[in-house]
């Protein structure tokens, strides 16, 4: 036991010195960005350093919850920029994880499309600058149909399902889609309406074609491997699937859906805010924004980038939805204390 303890202490000591060294190295010349894995063009690392003189260091995460957990536990002083989804922005503000951005220092802010300003996730436009954005819809196989005529009933009505299907395994997203399918507001926190949405999902769950709940990537894989006929996925996954199998189709149901945006935020204890602003400004550059969108296959929130991007990419409605599609999509609000309601509703969905 003593040996183990000794080894443990040695390891801790080693880890601590390693941390110290890292900090010394990190002096103002480095910008540390916390970001989803595989969410930036690797070529940009060198390019950014060449253009701004700051060294770009990436800290990767796989899930929003993991990212917030990490920040809450280890503090925000190791990061400069944090890429976070719209739904967690208010929570991060509340927990003191992110700080006001000095917009004067990000001149390229003028390129941002107006639909990403004054939204509920950041009503005062002081905490976020959009990075990439996307939509959520139904990916399915079979005869091509008019994308504006598809209803959620293709999944929720057992008479209309033509094969196995999966739902999204994410409480807030799935419940908001069921709310919309029932004709309610996606951001409703009305208990009766949520109750109806729960019943609607439970009814679909009884369909013998219902295969289960899955993440966006899992759903895409199931449709691609013919295990599923339809699944709810994000548009980036849908495009990847369609690239592999052109018989697939992606639609935003006519009752509506939700869009989401991943935003750049400033860490509340950023050791290098100047570098953080340089990074934000770099991403919002017209050409860089276009390069990023093309590489990741998601839509750019950058109007100037849309002008330089090629027509084929721009006219691909899977990635860049049409104005009518945008019309019927909303951003999900921060549920605040209704989060409890959504969670209880989700427990019911997953139990019965």
């Amino acid at each position: 036991m003593k040996k183990i303890l000794l080894a443990f202490f040695l390891l801790t000591a080693l880890a601590l010195t390693a941390c110290n060294e890292e900090k010394k190295e990190q002096a103002p010349k480095t910008v540390t960005v916390m970001i989803y894995s595989e969410y930036i063009d690797p070529a940009m690392l060198d390019d950014f350093e060449k253009k701004t003189g700051f060294k770009l260091q990436l800290e990767l995460y796989e899930a929003q919850e993991e990212m917030i957990g990490k920040l809450q536990a280890a503090g925000t002083s190791q990061y400069d920029v944090i890429i976070a989804s719209d739904v967690v922005i208010q929570q991060m503000v509340h927990l003191g994880l992110i700080a006001n951005i000095d917009m004067e220092k990000v001149p390229n802010r003028k390129n941002i499309a107006p639909q990403f300003l004054n939204q509920a996730y950041d009503p005062t436009n002081s905490f976020t600058l959009p990075y990439l954005w996307g939509t959520t819809g139904i990916l399915f196989r079979g005869e091509k149909v008019d994308p504006d005529s598809v209803s959620y009933s293709m999944l929720f009505d057992s008479k209309k399902t033509k094969g196995n299907f999966s739902f999204l395994d994410e409480s807030r997203s799935m419940l908001s889609m069921a709310l919309m399918a029932k004709g309610f507001n996606a951001n409703s926190t009305d208990q009766k309406e949520i109750n109806k949405a729960v019943d609607y999902i439970l009814q679909a769950k009884k369909d013998k074609h219902f295969l289960g709940f899955d993440g966006s990537v899992g759903g895409k894989d199931k449709v691609l491997s013919n295990m599923d006929w339809a699944a709810i996925v994000f548009n980036g996954e849908a495009q990847a699937a369609i690239d592999e199998d052109s018989t697939l189709q992606f639609v935003i149901p006519m009752e509506g859906s939700f869009m989401w945006v991943d935003a750049m935020t400033l860490s509340s204890k950023s050791p290098n805010p100047e570098g953080a602003y340089a990074f934000m400004n770099y991403i919002l550059d017209a050409n860089i924004g276009a390069q990023l969108a093309k590489y990741i296959n998601y839509a750019t929130p950058n109007n100037a980038s849309l002008e330089v991007i090629d027509e084929e990419f721009k006219n691909n409605r899977v990635i860049n939805p049409t104005p009518q599609e945008i019309e019927r999509m909303v951003f999900l609000n921060d549920p605040g204390n209704a989060a409890k309601l959504f969670d209880e509703a989700w427990t019911i969905v997953k139990t019965r």
Partner: protein, 300 residues
């Protein structure tokens, strides 16, 4: 002061107690810091409340117990209890399956020469060196619609025309049993190795029928091993949720999922998660106590 002789040395009880304490203190310190304190913290947290945005509001009440019993914003429902019941059911069935498969396996391994049996035992352990999630993904592929097992089951009419073995209950049990089997086999093998075959011989000499010989001659000797293997399978399966999620299509949740949902899902209700954690700890400890009580004694 009363002196005693211990290992040829003259010593006092007090001195021996001190030496014993000094020797066990690192272990006790470890348990204190990494087990007792966190558990105590969990108990305290279980009676706190969820504040806004997932913070913890330290006003104490019994609300979480009410919530556990099913009183939610949607009125009373048995959902939480159903989840606990379902977790228990899956854990017990998995344990029984592991035991039924593990026993013959342990005897078979034990029947070989020492060198072969060590090799066979290593083969049982090797899969555990791979990450659990990767092994589970392997099952997902293997049990998929286009693979031979599903095709065979379809041909035999066990499953419908468009169906596959994954996702479903069958896949969940396959995953659970394959994951837990090594833990069941190891203690069983140890007790097979230690069996006193003289007792079996004596039973035969006294004209005991095979079943009776097995029951009194072998099984009663193996009880400690069986208890160990039951505990080693039952307790981890109680909290398992990755396998049921991946192989069962995430249609139904277990207590592990419910806890995960409280800490990392939309709920961010750490206090309720702590309460659920306590339920899990209590049911594990209860099963340990039950098996300790019955395990010491033999069947005879």
């Amino acid at each position: 002061m009363q002196t005693e002789v211990f290992e040829g040395k003259l010593t006092t009880r007090k001195h021996m107690r001190h030496v014993g304490l000094a020797l066990t203190s690192p272990g006790m310190l470890w348990l204190l810091v990494f087990l007792l304190l966190p558990t105590l913290f969990l108990v305290v947290m279980a009676f706190a409340q969820r504040g806004s945005y997932g913070t913890i509001d330290w006003t104490f009440s019994l609300d979480n117990i009410k919530k556990l019993l099913g009183f939610s914003s949607f009125g009373w429902s048995a959902d939480n209890l159903v989840i606990i019941w379902r977790s228990l059911k899956i854990a017990v069935i998995t344990t029984v399956l592991c035991l039924l498969i593990g026993l013959p396996m342990a005897f078979w391994i034990g029947a070989h020469k020492k060198r072969t049996s060590t090799l066979l035992l290593a083969l049982v352990m090797v899969p555990s060196c791979t990450n659990l999630v990767i092994r589970t993904y392997a099952w997902m592929l293997l049990l998929g619609a286009q693979m031979p097992p599903s095709w065979l089951a379809r041909t035999l009419g066990i499953i419908g025309e468009m169906e596959s073995l994954y996702p479903g209950t069958f896949a969940v049990y396959i995953g659970m049993v394959s994951c837990m089997l090594p833990f069941a086999v190891l203690p069983l093998y140890t007790s097979v190795e230690r069996l006193d075959w003289g007792i079996v011989e004596a039973a035969r000499d006294l004209y005991a029928k095979p079943l009776r010989t097995f029951y009194h001659g072998i099984l009663s000797q193996m009880m400690p091993g069986i208890v160990a293997s039951v505990v080693l399978t039952l307790v981890p399966t109680l909290g398992m949720y990755v396998i049921s999620d991946l192989l069962g299509g995430a249609k139904f949740i277990l207590i592990g999922n419910l806890i995960q949902q409280q800490f990392f899902g939309t709920a961010l209700d750490w206090p309720f998660g702590a309460m659920l954690g306590i339920v899990l700890i209590v049911s594990s400890v209860l099963s340990l106590v039950v098996f300790k009580k019955t395990g010491g004694k033999s069947f005879v």
